[in-house]
Symmetry: C2
Subunit: 155 residues, 2 copies
Amino acid sequence: MNDLTRPSSLGEIGLMNYAPYLMNRIMGRYNTSLREEMVGLGLTTPKMRALAVLSVNDGLLIRELAIYAIVDPSTLSRALDQLGEGGLIRREADAADSRATRVFITDAGRVVFETLWPRMAEAHARIFKGIPEDERRAFVGTLQKMLTNIRKHEI
Amino acid sequence: MNDLTRPSSLGEIGLMNYAPYLMNRIMGRYNTSLREEMVGLGLTTPKMRALAVLSVNDGLLIRELAIYAIVDPSTLSRALDQLGEGGLIRREADAADSRATRVFITDAGRVVFETLWPRMAEAHARIFKGIPEDERRAFVGTLQKMLTNIRKHEI
DNA sequence: ACGGGATATTTGCAAACGCATTTAAATCTG
DNA sequence: CAGATTTAAATGCGTTTGCAAATATCCCGT
């Protein structure tokens, strides 16, 4: 029989039963479905993710923001330059550690993110359409376990 | 009450309950955990995905491969150039439509993908560690529903 | 059979990406 | 407490990416 803990080959499992493939494909479409709106707002994926995280969790260190936003620190640094130029975020030296910088979303930044949010909610709704509430909850529960499994950082 | 079909704000839901965020983050780590091995094999993400799909489903049209592999056609075209130079795939004019090209994985290509596969299986196992079989099946089942929801193509 | 529009793939190009390195500051060690 | 090591963020730089446009071919309606 087929032991899914140690699948013997991709062909044997089949792409359409392979969770990472399905997840990449679904996220690929989710992300591209936001792109048009993002371009209109002058956002790239890293910039959008930074705003999204900050809208929930303001004043993070850049290092922390990079983890939450799933963006390479060097890419994030440049994304923050641009967000700063546009007045959507501001950097502030950390009080305790003068190497570190905290990032805050501005009111203008919140406005931009709130403009984008309905598109994200739409894309989310389309993905979960027809999936009952308890199944959604179970799905998110499994995702949370997975994140715990692979988490390297204490975040 | 909180109607998850139309969440009112990201802050209200919380990043850690927002499926697209969790999925992006998990896939981000899955993808980077393969990168080191991929670099050693001279592969980028699009090249790896093309090989993965072809290993299961050989002889696809480039157009179809782009969809399955979740890669922009222009990016795929260049990725195939490189895979072709390395002798991992070969292009062949389609018999019925002379605009179209079919792509075939070579034996060398299979060898390369089979070298990478154990890393993919490892990453997969790490993600699903401690998640029981029935929960895995339910999770994949939900993913399949989601893919159906967002599928634009008949693929 | 012919012209207009659609489709498959490739190429031009500018922006974005991520690795490796640098700079600056904190922390550890003897 | 000096020197070595680690950590935070920014920058240099070559590669990759994806949109738009170009090219070639097909298909539809007349």
